[in-house]
């Protein structure tokens, strides 16, 4: 899968349309509140993962500050929801996205001089500072480790089923939009620039692409989406605690990305879905949730480097070979 629009055949478009349609009608036929809650939470995590994967896959940067950026989106949109109740909630979420985008851009600048593990350490340190400052603010904006004070959310007047459905659709909309945006960006000037910066910095610079601007842009876009995810999370869960930035959610998200396949459009979709199912299945075996997580992460990184998407890619190449044979067979075969 090349991931560019140019390669999307009519068959694929039809497939996408069917998938979107199925996803859209799904909550009309399914309404178990427990699983719907998990699915909506999974959708929000997916938005976060798409944002994370974007900066990772495009700029080749493991940004371990992404959860802090996500949290800042939640806190800043929550600040509007709580203290400026005149502002419509969707605008507050959008504000959270913008705020996170700006912070993410600011975070991008110091990473420009660094490479590899240093970038990760810088962003990790950033996340630690944000997390501790939030923890140390128990009676202030963040509510500390006990959580953000209750906010109204997007749909305060809906009943449970309708509430879940509404959030499901909103999140699905954001997911679809961001998937298309990412797919489009990949084959845009910026996307090509970013990937060539990652793979061959000198070549890119020679072609007149400014690698710094490209990376800053990737951070900004990724931060914006992460902030939106944070705002959605806060409005859906009506709370946000500092543990959302902790090591456990980070390990979970990293594993989702790695399992799906880093830097691909469909990787986060597959990884998030798969791990959400596994973690939910293991809810009755709490000790095993993280043990399995650690083992899975290790096995995938070591033995399936491209994640599931990469694995499918290899299978796909085999299948293409198979198709090619078919084309050969159309010719009168000798013998």
């Amino acid at each position: 899968m090349t991931g560019t629009f140019g390669a999307v055949t009519p068959g694929r478009w039809a497939m996408i349309a069917v998938a979107v349609a199925l996803a859209a009608v799904f909550p009309l036929v399914y309404h178990d509140p427990y699983y719907m809650t998990i699915i909506v939470t999974g959708e929000i995590v997916l938005i976060l993962n798409i944002s994370w994967n974007f900066v990772l896959g495009m700029a080749g940067v493991w940004n371990f500050g992404q959860l802090a950026i996500y949290a800042l989106g939640a806190y800043s949109s929550g600040w509007l929801m709580l203290h400026h109740s005149g502002v419509p909630v969707p605008l507050a979420i959008l504000f959270g996205g913008l705020f996170s985008g700006v912070v993410s851009v600011l975070l991008a600048f110091p990473t420009l001089r660094l490479f590899g593990i240093y970038t990760s350490l810088l962003t990790f340190s950033f996340a630690q500072v944000i997390q501790y400052v939030a923890v140390n603010n128990p009676h202030g904006l963040t509510g500390g480790s006990f959580g953000f004070p209750e906010v109204p959310g997007l749909f305060p007047d809906l009943g449970q089923t309708a509430y879940l459905r509404a959030y499901y659709w909103v999140c699905a909309g954001v997911i679809i939009a961001s998937c298309f945006a990412v797919a489009w960006l990949r084959q845009s000037h910026l996307g090509i620039a970013l990937r060539s910066v990652r793979d061959a910095p000198a070549y890119t610079a020679a072609r007149g692409v400014n690698p710094r601007a490209a990376r800053v842009a990737a951070f900004g876009l990724s931060g914006f989406l992460a902030g939106i995810a944070g705002g959605l999370y806060l409005s859906f869960e009506q709370s946000f605690t500092t543990s959302q930035m902790g090591l456990t959610p980070m390990s979970l998200d990293v594993t989702m990305l790695v399992i799906g396949g880093l830097g691909t459009v469909s990787g986060p979709l597959i990884g998030t879905a798969l791990l959400t199912v596994i973690q939910t299945k293991l809810i009755n075996y709490p000790g095993w949730q993280l043990t399995v997580l650690g083992a899975t992460l290790l096995v995938i990184v070591v033995f399936v480097p491209g994640g599931i998407v990469g694995l499918f890619g290899r299978i796909d190449r085999r299948v293409r070979g198979w198709v090619a044979e078919d084309a050969d067979e159309a010719e009168p075969a000798p013998g």
């Binding site: 590899g116 240093y118 350490l121 340190s125 630690q128 501790y132 650690g294 992460l297 480097p305």
Partner: protein
Amino acid sequence: MTDAVAILANGVVYGSIYGLVAIGMTLIYGTLRILDMSQGSMVMVGGYVGWWALATHGVNAVLALVAAFVFTFALGTATELVSVQPLIARRNEVDFELVTFITTFAVAIFLTNVALQHFGPFQQNVPTIVSGNLKLYHGVSISYHELTMAVISVVLMIGLGLFLARTRWGLAVRAVAQDLDAARSLAVPVTRLYPLTMGLASALAGVGGVFLGALYFASPTAGDLPLLFALIVVVLGGLGSLTGTLYAAYLVGMTQSFCEVEIGTTWTLPILYGAILAILVFRPYGLKGSPSEARL
């Protein structure tokens, strides 16, 4: 004055322990270009070995330390074999550092949760190695346990330094850190050297764990804070620089000690991480480090 003495004494104790944990991380980073996130787990495991030996089997302190050393050495070796060895072929790829960062982190998650299932959530009390206090100045005192811990840390760190400077295998470790191909062409068996290096580093952390267990107890998450501090130390020292790590360990210990007294315990970690952030922004490769050289 009393404050100053107390800050100094605490700082030395903290610094010695961070040094012991961080120096292993530095050794591994210097040799293998891996930021080993499983070091914290080795502290945790060392604590449990100490508890098992001292509290439940009543063996003497030296044996307990040796047991922790041996066990974490083996565990570190095993960690390398599962989380790094299969990836060695990708050593020269750009993302090797990050991939192994993640695999060792995965090992850490795994070990923490295995400990949780095996030992349960409770903390366990590890007896002190030596009892009693040394009175320093106007009521400032330091326990002999902490003193022993500091001394053994320093001895182990000096020992590591001598090992690297004076022995055939020590030279080989440094050689591998600096030029892998040249070292291999001189018949250094890297496939054995890597697990041994990681075993050695883990064993240092494991010994640290026995001491820490007596101060802060053995528990499944006992390695988390030492890891967070060790990360600060290795970055501050410049990844891969042994001397830098040593300075940084004591600097971080002193800073922590100072923050706790003068600013507030709760601000220690954010201040230290803020400092790291500033250092990475303005002086990206730590106090002693430089970007492209191997430094062991």
